[in-house]
Symmetry: C2
Subunit: 390 residues, 2 copies
């Protein structure tokens, strides 16, 4: 895909993430207000600066019967700006950022808000599981597959091809819980051990409870702008690349089960757009909906050689305080920070922005100047990669 550059650079100028978790006493309206008002305050912008709203959400229609979330939140936030909802399963947040990025570069809007939001815990778990399968193929749905089962197949294929072990996958969960403990908005604040992961209930063999990201509520918001000169805030992080790729919905139609081809292609395109190489990235938020997914992401994004990601993770090479080149999922990732589906892709941009600004507190990655966010829909049918530069 050839990219024709325009002169319109896009910057992240304000970010915010709410607490992620089981937020029984908070409504979607309150979550949206918290995230957007904090992001606008962070950006130093007022409602009159905002020219467009992009909402990333997957489940509101299926679980709550409420669609039309663009106008819904535009009203709730008293913005009354052009608004739309973007959906691509668990990649809805990343796709919303992509749409917002395009809208600014096109000259259509100069400053916009992207809101990612999901409220999952108000519904029966079986309804949530059924709704989430709205991201899978018709055949998978008909067969009664669930996402833990689908990712378990990916795990089995990776174990067979590269000798990856259950302990290797457990190491992803241990690392991401360790990171999450440094993030006050994370759903899980407790460190766990390899043994605890290994002894947790088997959900879809070889994946156990502590290999799986949780069901979460939460929202994240980012303010994007091309108007560097008009906004007083000096905290601008450039969006150097925004790339999307798709693959088959179902696993059965894929050529390989030991990689997510959409991630590879979105990553390659993003590196080209940004003019950087994988080894130039200092910090990345990748889509670890299950522990095996982080292993796949590190390989598909070329942070590790094929079959070598597990070793790098196990050896602490991507852990805060121990990493040499790159830290993966300092926020705690989906596993530790939580995974309110539509919010995740936006939260990743917020986290990378904080890291590049140097405002990530006690989970700060030292000298991070280039970061990457990687958001996946379904079992890899959609992948979105953003690269941010300070």
């Amino acid at each position: 895909m050839k990219h024709q550059p325009t002169n319109m650079n896009v910057y992240v100028t304000g970010v915010a993430t709410t607490k992620f978790g089981e937020l029984w006493d908070v409504s979607p309206r309150q979550l949206a207000r918290q995230a957007v008002q904090a992001a606008m305050k962070d950006a130093g912008v007022h409602p009159e600066h905002i020219k467009g709203l992009f909402v990333g959400n997957m489940l509101s229609g299926m679980l709550g019967g409420q669609e039309h979330l663009g106008a819904f939140f535009s009203e709730e936030l008293e913005l009354f700006v052009p608004a739309s909802k973007i959906e691509g399963a668990c990649a809805s947040g990343g796709l919303a950022v992509h749409a917002a990025f395009n809208s600014i570069r096109s000259g259509q809007y100069d400053t916009v808000v992207v809101l990612g939001i999901e409220k999952m815990t108000d519904h029966r778990p079986e309804d949530v599981a059924t709704a989430l399968m709205g991201a899978g193929s018709e055949e998978e749905r008909a067969a009664g597959a669930t996402f833990p089962g689908l990712y378990a197949m990916l795990a089995r294929a990776h174990m067979r091809a590269f000798g990856t072990t259950e302990e290797d996958m457990a190491a992803v969960a241990v690392k991401n819980h360790f990171h999450a403990g440094k993030n006050q908005n994370a759903q899980f604040q407790k460190e766990i051990t390899i043994e605890q992961v290994m002894h947790s209930s088997r959900i879809a063999d070889p994946l156990k409870l502590l290999d799986c990201s949780p069901i979460s509520d939460g929202a994240a918001a980012v303010v994007l702008t091309s108007q560097k000169s008009k906004i007083k805030n000096q905290k601008f992080v450039e969006v150097a690349a925004s790339a999307v790729a798709t693959d088959t919905l179902g696993l059965a139609q894929r050529k390989s089960l030991t990689e997510l081809s959409a991630t590879k292609r979105a990553g390659e395109q993003a590196y080209t757009m940004a003019g950087v190489r994988p080894k130039d990235i200092h910090v990345a938020e990748v889509h670890d909906c299950f522990t095996i997914a982080e292993i796949l992401a590190l390989e598909d994004l070329q942070f590790a050689k094929k079959g070598k990601a597990a070793e790098a993770i196990r050896n602490g090479e991507v852990t805060l305080g121990r990493a040499k080149h790159i830290v993966i999922n300092p926020s705690g990732g989906l596993k530790g920070c939580g995974h309110p589906v539509g919010a995740t892709g936006v939260k990743q941009i917020a986290e990378i922005t904080e890291q590049l600004r140097g405002t990530a507190g006690n989970r700060q990655v030292a000298r991070a100047r280039i970061g990457l966010a990687h958001n996946v829909g379904g079992s890899g049918a959609t992948a979105v990669v953003h690269i941010l530069k300070m």
Copy 2:
């Protein structure tokens, strides 16, 4: 909203619409294939030309449990390109065109397909009615309101303020059925009379059955490009403006019930972007989900003075073969052609393109060179206006 022009013009270069109606023997996959393959053939482009896919759909998640339609149709159409679903209730199709337009002008993609699609008749009517209320406010949903009821309130307000009569509204249905009779893809092929409308069942007083657009299946696709020189097809229609505005979801929160403020604002912005006046428009597809909605649209888009649209319609001033300045809804509109929700906004672009090319057959508007498409979500919370030029 200030528009900052880029050098990237966007053209419609291929369009197609499937039959609209109760398509019991056709699946969503088949509808999508029919529309997209025909639009690509019309454009003279091959799959390798297509760099992005934008899907407009509202109800697939709520009615069929299938979300993730970007990747779903990208796979079904064997495109495997960056893809996303855009949702904004009945304005989903228009919003998908808007997102596609922005993506091209940004330089991100050079040639894309927009697919609008909805399959409504496979489901119980009460489920469809409930799902459609996903476009309304929480209060309206809690009160058990339906869209015929909400538009009935708008009709009553207009009748009280301007003396609009039930016969005036009936004239919209009569005109649009007359137009639909010239459109082989239209759901209704039969002319109706004022008397038939007046004697049809009362749905939500003063709206009767024949004041309401039907429940429909159907798909429409358009190919948009910036690559005029690379595509052999000589049938380029320029997208001169793409504008969106939002309002409150619920009617109770509006300042006025005799206009849709979002339509007015999107229209004004589109006229500014395109550098044209309302009187320059030769043909328009407007969102007549109920007959009163066409009356409101004509006034809000400044094709008629406030309170005067009904008279213009009744006098045949916007009817094919009788119009002086502008023909409204030559396709038959939502009322006559049908209203597969997510498809409607894309079908409108397809119809205006055919009209400007001079390929609209026996419903051709003479000497049409500038056209407008107007798509509404809910009872006016979202409005999308596109202006096309030959």
